[in-house]
Symmetry: C2
Subunit: 298 residues, 2 copies
């Protein structure tokens, strides 16, 4: 089993082609649904009393929601607008609501889980969360500009406490004050991470581990509708794959990243989570084969 800890949100997403108001979103939502194609996945998070039954039903269809708390107050809300190229997003509004001061409990049935994914959260909460598990075999954490800017020491401590850290290129640069991604990764490894995954959006991702560099070209997508959640799907799918394989050798980790890359390529083809909700395992396997043929058949 994989446990995912992170935000469940009501997202307002403004893209050049469409605006979605208060749709199901959040890092834990995207990553746990992506993970669920590979492994039994439990979610830990919090929503408000206003969280629509429809969305709760969707989550229940894919993941174990025993760890999803419902509290007095409003659900976390995010409002962001993409530019014409869909390559940069401007945050218009963030309302923490019930997420503020949330002190999560880990359900007993989750505590034996060996795979834990700390989707983007307060790094101090993440460090605390990790300690709730009895027997972690592999943990992965994500972070964003907000935490790097406001709690850098905690971010570094969180990185030291988990096996894999993932973030995008700009975040890696902000954290390390280096520009070159190899230099960024080396610094992050010095912080105490075993594996560093730097996400580069449409350009793919790169895994760093000891002296290994594993660069993955992005799976080319012609019609990108909404990039929201692509990075979360990468982390979630990768961890779901690894939890299912129950193996953490470098070969399996590389394969996991390929699955993560491919899951990310699906989600951008629809708005919000919509593409995930019609996705089938057979389509994932097809795209994995297509990606291998594309990049490796010489």
């Amino acid at each position: 089993m994989l446990v995912v800890f992170g935000s469940v949100a009501l997202d307002t997403i403004r893209t050049p082609t469409s605006t979605l108001y208060e749709v199901l979103g959040g890092a834990a939502t995207f990553s746990s649904i992506a993970a669920s194609f590979f492994s039994k996945t439990g979610i830990i998070g919090v929503v408000g009393k206003d969280f629509p039954n429809l969305y709760e039903g969707i989550l229940n269809r894919y993941v174990d929601t025993k760890g999803l708390n419902k509290k007095e107050g409003k659900t976390f809300r995010y409002d962001g607008k993409y530019d014409r190229t869909l390559s940069t997003r401007k945050t218009l509004k963030t309302e923490l609501n019930v997420i503020r001061d949330f002190s999560p409990d880990v359900p007993e049935s989750y505590k034996k889980s060996e795979f834990v994914y700390l989707a983007n959260n307060d790094p101090d909460q993440n460090i605390k969360m990790l300690k709730s598990f009895d027997n972690v075999k592999l943990s992965m954490c994500d972070t964003i500009e907000y935490w790097i800017s406001t709690k850098k020491a905690s971010v570094i401590k969180m990185i030291k406490n988990s096996n894999i850290v993932t973030m995008n290129d700009e975040e890696a640069r902000l954290l390390t004050k280096e520009y070159n991604l190899i230099k960024c990764a080396k610094k992050i490894i010095e912080f105490g991470s075993e594996y560093v995954i730097i996400k580069k959006g449409e350009h793919g991702s790169v895994l760093f581990h000891e002296d290994i560099i594993f660069p993955l070209a992005g799976f080319p997508i012609e019609d990108i509708r909404d990039p929201t959640g692509a990075g979360d799907c990468l982390g979630g799918a990768m961890m779901g794959y690894l939890a299912n394989e129950n193996d953490i050798d470098i070969k399996t980790i590389k394969k996991g990243l390929i699955y993560g890359n491919v899951l990310g390529s699906f989600v951008v083809e629809g708005y919000g989570v919509e593409k995930l909700l019609t996705l089938q395992k057979i389509k994932i396997d097809d795209r994995i084969k297509k990606y291998a043929a594309m990049t490796q058949e010489l």
Copy 2:
């Protein structure tokens, strides 16, 4: 034999770590030297009487310079400055000098050449140049923003007249008025190109042909000193490889692009052409193996 037509220049390159004054540069210089590691390569271009003997000697060491004209006047000069990240370059000065109104002759011994690389040049000159060859098996052309902005119809005609066209992502967007690179490539294929290679700098390159998409992650380089000439080396090395193989099936073309990618990764490690001048075939083959291991060994 491969023939390369393009500029030979005296470059002033300002990088954050070093400034080089009037060093050997130009698209034909980078691409023909890169090609020379694979194939006999002839160059067609023009320099002024001020072109240093030292630089002429360097070119002679690598390529056949029968097609290199020396004219009254000054050599083409370029002056550009990179930003801190080495990802964007601002042109400070361009002096065409002897390149203006240059009407190249093709040496008799070049005319039977089946492989022709039209490094970035006036597209009308390129179209005329192609007609000088009796028996072209494969031609490749490059272009830049300047020609797309000033001679778009001629650029499209040049693309129709050659087999492969290469340009960087921003140039492809400018030419096609599309943002997504698959959409860009589809339009360029509609213009009449058989193969389109879109270069993405450190993120690698993508080849498009019919319904084939072949994305290549960049070879990761930790110490980038000067990106000048990387794209030219990609095109030149690829064409040199293909000329040597004397084969143009898709498998060979893909392999050629991998060689091009790797040659581009070498040149950025030094200033100007300096890295090319100490490069050996064995180092290229080593890096090709390293790249395969990096991306394909699962």
